[in-house]
Subunit: 315 residues, 4 copies
Amino acid sequence: MLTIGVDIGGTKVAAGVVDHDGQILDKVKYPTPTNDPRQLAEVVGRAVAELRSRKPDGEIGAVGVGVAGFVDEDRATVQVAVNLGLRDEPLRERVQQHVGLPVVIENDANAAAWAEARFGAGRGSDHIVCVTLGTGIGGGLVLGGALHRGRYGVAAEVGHYRMVPHGRRCACGNHGCWEQYASGRALVAEGQDLARTDPQRAERLLKLADGVVEQVSGRIITQAAMEGDPAALECFRIVGEWAGLGLADLAAILDPECFVLGGGVSDAGDIILDPVRASFARHVSGRPGRRLAEVRVAELGGEAGIAGAGDLARY
Amino acid sequence: MLTIGVDIGGTKVAAGVVDHDGQILDKVKYPTPTNDPRQLAEVVGRAVAELRSRKPDGEIGAVGVGVAGFVDEDRATVQVAVNLGLRDEPLRERVQQHVGLPVVIENDANAAAWAEARFGAGRGSDHIVCVTLGTGIGGGLVLGGALHRGRYGVAAEVGHYRMVPHGRRCACGNHGCWEQYASGRALVAEGQDLARTDPQRAERLLKLADGVVEQVSGRIITQAAMEGDPAALECFRIVGEWAGLGLADLAAILDPECFVLGGGVSDAGDIILDPVRASFARHVSGRPGRRLAEVRVAELGGEAGIAGAGDLARY
Amino acid sequence: MLTIGVDIGGTKVAAGVVDHDGQILDKVKYPTPTNDPRQLAEVVGRAVAELRSRKPDGEIGAVGVGVAGFVDEDRATVQVAVNLGLRDEPLRERVQQHVGLPVVIENDANAAAWAEARFGAGRGSDHIVCVTLGTGIGGGLVLGGALHRGRYGVAAEVGHYRMVPHGRRCACGNHGCWEQYASGRALVAEGQDLARTDPQRAERLLKLADGVVEQVSGRIITQAAMEGDPAALECFRIVGEWAGLGLADLAAILDPECFVLGGGVSDAGDIILDPVRASFARHVSGRPGRRLAEVRVAELGGEAGIAGAGDLARY
Amino acid sequence: MLTIGVDIGGTKVAAGVVDHDGQILDKVKYPTPTNDPRQLAEVVGRAVAELRSRKPDGEIGAVGVGVAGFVDEDRATVQVAVNLGLRDEPLRERVQQHVGLPVVIENDANAAAWAEARFGAGRGSDHIVCVTLGTGIGGGLVLGGALHRGRYGVAAEVGHYRMVPHGRRCACGNHGCWEQYASGRALVAEGQDLARTDPQRAERLLKLADGVVEQVSGRIITQAAMEGDPAALECFRIVGEWAGLGLADLAAILDPECFVLGGGVSDAGDIILDPVRASFARHVSGRPGRRLAEVRVAELGGEAGIAGAGDLARY
């Protein structure tokens, strides 16, 4: 049996036919309709129909839909998806009406984590913590070989556990959330702070940003770091230190076999991985003696969401 | 089928016959032999033999042994149990030779958490986080209805996730571990600090401690708090605030249905529960809107270890 | 001899005739010209001329000008005054050309602190730390009976000493500055956070703000606190706790005889003073035994700037 | 006129004849009598008599005595000196009876700071903050050219301002004091932590300590750092980072012209100075634009106490 995985993003709906090995055999894309759950379900239906039409009848057995939002533990209702304008939306029912196949709805970070666990950097392990260092920090937990969604579907919000009491304000309303220290946004903040308070040391960063502090971006910091610019490397070192501290906490709680780091920050490769690993090793409890979880980089890139949603439709 | 649960503590080995409902039908106790794994296995063997001798042949089908230490994920080897002087100890094999029945070894906090999940304050829930506020902080995770031991058997060391970067030194070698802020030891530290720096406010505490700061104990603070002493209540408020902060972090990561608080600090009942719940509600991410995990007190007391170890022997 | 004190604020230039006892005998006001140092000096000149014209010749002997900005240690040049658009501005020279009298330029917070020390809440003490809990936190130090301006004129920037490493971002480019925790802005942030995450508890605050979280202001929180609203009182308690922590740090460094609290937050009187004093007493080092500095409220209100600038012109 | 400076330490009483340039012309030493203020005054008297006997009559005009303890603002009474067993001790009166000359009592860190300000690394500056990175952290403030003792004589206790809220426990009863992060003791703690949790990285440190974690000392870490050992350098980097953060806070409050670092940790020279300066520059508020205080190393070493006490006797 094949399945279809759908990844509903803020700008496009991407769907693909997924086989047992997580391979994406065929793929389509549509623009995301804004703030209209009915149209959204229609677009998903159209994407599924198009993909099915290119396969022999009956080959596609189920549909998994990943969405950036809180999904109820019944895998049917989107509690809230801010960017898509959804709230208490019975998305499974709506999509099912269009496709006439079993449908499950999943949180997109969970779907991607599942894909990495099954087919990517985490394959072969039963206990995996995926951490997406994007603009913010997302997460997915595979524990005992199963996706851990939590009681109300909102587990793995690792970006919002508190790293620093009374720390930096977060959009979530709390202070000191991990994502204020170890995300892409944190990287940019470090770079801009440096450019603002020590323009001399940040010379290369400022040059790449045409002299405008506010234009120092993650892309620019990464480029400068790859050229060996000490200021840019320092930004990655600071963010990596915080990221490693967070992994140490997650290891104390969950004892995974490996961490899989994804998201834009992880594109910097060893520039971020080295400080993350060093910080993790230095801060994890039970040292020495404890067997350390490995820290790996995600392998599936942007298609993890489709592969994961498709595969989760089998369960 | 009945099983036998054994709880190896620092001073005594307690064993009991456990039925399907977690009831302890019969019980024996022996002193714990010190620093001798052979004798320890013998004592466990003797306890099991005695309990079996009082039951019809064949009624006892398996033995579960809880031990305060890191247990390998194969439930056979004790990696390290500081208080018992064990290191890389093949305890399952040794005990099995004595009892001739299937044996599993479990971490004692995991065993107790399992008992609370199955038969105690957590029954009916599939996602439970047990937090033992004893001298330090221990923990046990029941996720998706199963005990989560982690890849190397050392999950749920929640007392050693970092609450405060660069915070108070912990015996584990790290700084800022949660148990430095929200355990019984932390409660005593608050009480003694107060007695030292503000003897007037701590008058009642000092009186109960015969005027000796170092004798201000958890028992004394609890007694004074129950009498309504404002200084003692303040100690509980501070510890409860930190405990609630930790629950908020665990909720962000794990999204449980309930927390079960055990250990000596939880004996103070609402005196500790009220500040814990208030702090948790105020600090958890996703407010308002998020469905809050309940915070309950453990129900099984000191026998949870026996009941849990016995029940886990069935799996 | 009488002097004239001038207080250059963002919207108005206030000037007054000041006698030896800090009494303001006559007063005028003009709107502040924007971003034009020439016009600014002219307006100051006009104000001085008007006040002098009402006094017998020769009674006014000197002019002191307070300005919200960094003033060089020579009391002549404004290094930077963001709100007035001044940078490296030889303000003394310019004003002197208009008034033909000796002129000194002072930082406005220093001028106000001097007035409180000489004529207000701090009179009789030689070691006074003034802390203005306004939108941000300003400060002024009178040590050994003299105003402490520092080597480069920028001492007493107490709002920007670091309260929390890796703490809340500050407009100054650093993180964790005291003014992010204990200022009027911090009070508003606490109130709005509460209204956002726990609307039920913040019912009264929200009602006074017409249900709009962003309209919860310092004035509203103060009003609600005076009515006894527990949520508003909690906001003051939190801010007071941080304020007291800061005073404890300043006491460890400076050992003053008293602290004088001014600024809008201090208008709440005991509602803020009680938690500040309790926190200070609990956190100051050397307890018990240490003689505690008193914590008083400023007495001179908005006229402190004129009185202080006028008096400092004598030195 | 010459004076005599006396430095009462825990093990020895050192006294010297001090001229107007802070030169020590003659010197004697006696063992410190324990816990007996009478004998202590006698020993001081004997030391003074001996030094006077070697000079022409009348050349010595006054005696200054430095003591490790809190000294009242009247420079007469030792409030408390834990190591010498003094409490509310009228030391000036007692010593005066023996020597028949004007006597002043000073805190020893203040005396040493004064000497550095007048004759050592701080000469030429009117605003100096001396920070002694010894076992703990001591301090001395010279502001406006005068020693700042505070209202009750206990100013400049910079080691006990709070660096980290809820941070490491300090012997003073508080948590998070600066000296828990940036003193010699903190350096040793970093080294021992490293040796305990990462013996491989700390190989050189452990070798110098004969393999015993508890024997990793400040001397050993300094030696290893001078050899270029990365682990030892990391210890200094961490301590230097915290030291620089503290200087940044002191600069925000006091705006000195220079910091003078003394104490055992500063013996490492650039190994500690480089990270201190980098951290100070990065964390001080008002960057860029602000003129930075210099960070210098103390020049007078162990004799600063005698020279400072002697010179302060002139005032």
